[in-house]
Structure formats: C-alpha cells, structure tokens
Assembly symmetry: D2
Homo-oligomer: 100 residues x 4
Amino acid sequence: MANQRHDHPVTPRTKDEKAAITNRLKRIEGQVRGIQKMVEEDRYCIDILVQISAINAALKKVGFSVAERHTKHCVTDAVKNGEGNEAIDELMEVLKQFSK
Amino acid sequence: MANQRHDHPVTPRTKDEKAAITNRLKRIEGQVRGIQKMVEEDRYCIDILVQISAINAALKKVGFSVAERHTKHCVTDAVKNGEGNEAIDELMEVLKQFSK
Amino acid sequence: MANQRHDHPVTPRTKDEKAAITNRLKRIEGQVRGIQKMVEEDRYCIDILVQISAINAALKKVGFSVAERHTKHCVTDAVKNGEGNEAIDELMEVLKQFSK
Amino acid sequence: MANQRHDHPVTPRTKDEKAAITNRLKRIEGQVRGIQKMVEEDRYCIDILVQISAINAALKKVGFSVAERHTKHCVTDAVKNGEGNEAIDELMEVLKQFSK
C-alpha cells in the first residue's frame, strides 16, 4: 500500500483536473519554443531573460497547485492513516528543492 | 543606437552558441512534455514535483548562461561606451526577477 | 478554537525545541552583525554577498524546520478535526512567499 | 592589484553609503531578534514563517544593492582595465548562490 501511494495520487485526478494542468503545461511548452525562436532570431538577451523568468514563475505556479492538491489528498489521507509524518517529510523535501 | 542595442546583442550569437542554447531548450521542452504525460497517466504528485524542480533548475542554468554572455558582451560594450550604468540597472532588474 | 490556533501552535514548543531554534537565530543574528562590521571596514563586495547568501540559506533552513513542525502538529491536528484544507491553504500561501 | 581588488571595493564606500546599508542591516538584526522573541512566546508557526520570509526579502534587497554598486564600480573598473570577464565570472557565481 505504501508502494501504491508512490505510483499514483490516492484520489485519481479528474478529467477536469488533468485538463487544467495539461493546458498550463502546453502553454509553458509553447513559451519554451518561443525562446528557441528568439535565440534563432538572435534577439536581445534581456528580452530572453524576461521570458525565462516568466516560464519559471508559471512552472512554480503549476508546482504549487500540484503540491496543494497532493497535501489535500495524499498527505491528508496519510495523516488519517497514521502515516502522516512520513508523507510530510517527503513533501518538505520536495518543497525545499522547489524553493531553490 | 540605444535602440539597436535593445533588438539584438552587440555581438551576434555564433552558430555554435545558438546551437548550444537551442539544445538545452529542446531538452527542457521535452521535459515539459514529459510532465504532461505523467499527468495524463495520473502519476504520483511528488514525482511530478521533482520533475518540475528539475526543469526550473535547468531553466535557471540557461538563464544564467544568457546573463553571463550578456554581461560579457552587451554590458561590457556599454561600459566602454560610457553607458554602463544604464545597462547595469537593466541587468540587475532582470536578475531580481530571476532570483524569485 | 480556530482563533486559538492562530495565536500558538497546537502542541506547545518544548524547552528543547525553543532552544534549538533560538540558537540558530542567535547565530544568524551574529552573522548579520558580522556583515555590518564588513561594511564598516569597507570589505570587498563579493565577500559581503557570499555572507548574505549564507544567511539566506540559514534562514530558509530555520523556516523549513518551523514549517515541518507546523505541518506535523498544527496541520495534522486540523486534518484530524476536519479543518485540514483551510490549514493547508494557509501553509501553501506562506511557502509560496518562502520560495521567492 | 588583483589582490587589492579582493580586499576592498575599487571605490571606497562613502560614509552615507555605509550608513544606508548599516541601517538596513540593523533593522534586519532587529527582525531576527523579533523572531527569537516570537519563539520564546511560543507564537503561531505561520506568523513566524511570515516574518522569516520578510527578512529573506529584506536581505535580498540589501544583497542586490551591494551587487549593483559592485557592478557599477568594481566590475566596470575591471572592464576598463581589460579584466572584465574574470570579474563577471565572479559576479555571476555569487548571483547564482543568491538566486537559490
């Protein structure tokens, strides 16, 4: 069961939830392609950096929404099953990475 | 001339420089697509978050290499032309965004 | 009771826990005073920046240890009382600030 | 001379410049002491985290103002003396630390 928890979220993502994240990721993918085009056209460095910052911000937003859902479902579930601390350690570890 | 500086870097990127950045961006684009697949397959949240952190780190690396080249060419050139402080203000502004 | 939760942690910090955080904060306070001395002595900028980065890293560490304890006590308690989502929203909000 | 550059900024900080940074650092020092008091009083974790975020933001501000002055004086000077790239590498290295 602990193993199962590591393959999927405890509550499967709904079709709408999947669509919402996927749309944001598709937009981010488009932004990354946009920077490739800017490099190809030899565009001004600062303009490229502004775009990279925008993508980083967008990715962090997606990340925090994934983390929030994770905490509300998987961590909450673990807490109720008496396995909360392990789930919280795992969450904190990944959020530390995130805050770099 | 100040205007020209804002469209392109003072020293055009070489073919090799373009290729180096483009390769890294293509890899990042692939990683973003990879996350879409993970969401589609309803993969475990923490695994998705680890991937998002990895992309953020990769993007920051690209960003710093763009910023370094910018400083060594565009800012250096501006300093030699007595327009250094303006270029430095612009650089700092974008690096502040970056450090968020 | 919701009000009480906002004044103190649900499980009071033990004497040892307080001492552990206080020691780290005292060290950080000393580091901040150290930078003041460096500025007074007109020390090299890069050396000052390295010190500031070190303090930021130390503060983040303290922050994450506070966040971890908060999640293991206050959030866990809220989850068990059926008020988990509110506590999680509050946690995520502050962690977003943190990751800037 | 390269050695001298590593002990002090090329242009000594004026009395006013020193006072400006010192004031900001004294305020930060006070904020760190404030958190110690909050811990002593066993204050709510989230309130402590908000304060830590505020200090981090204040430290970053000081850091960027030091970095800006460094670039406008030390790096600019190095560029004019044909030692720009070395100074820029050093600057980028420390800014990478900073953006973590």
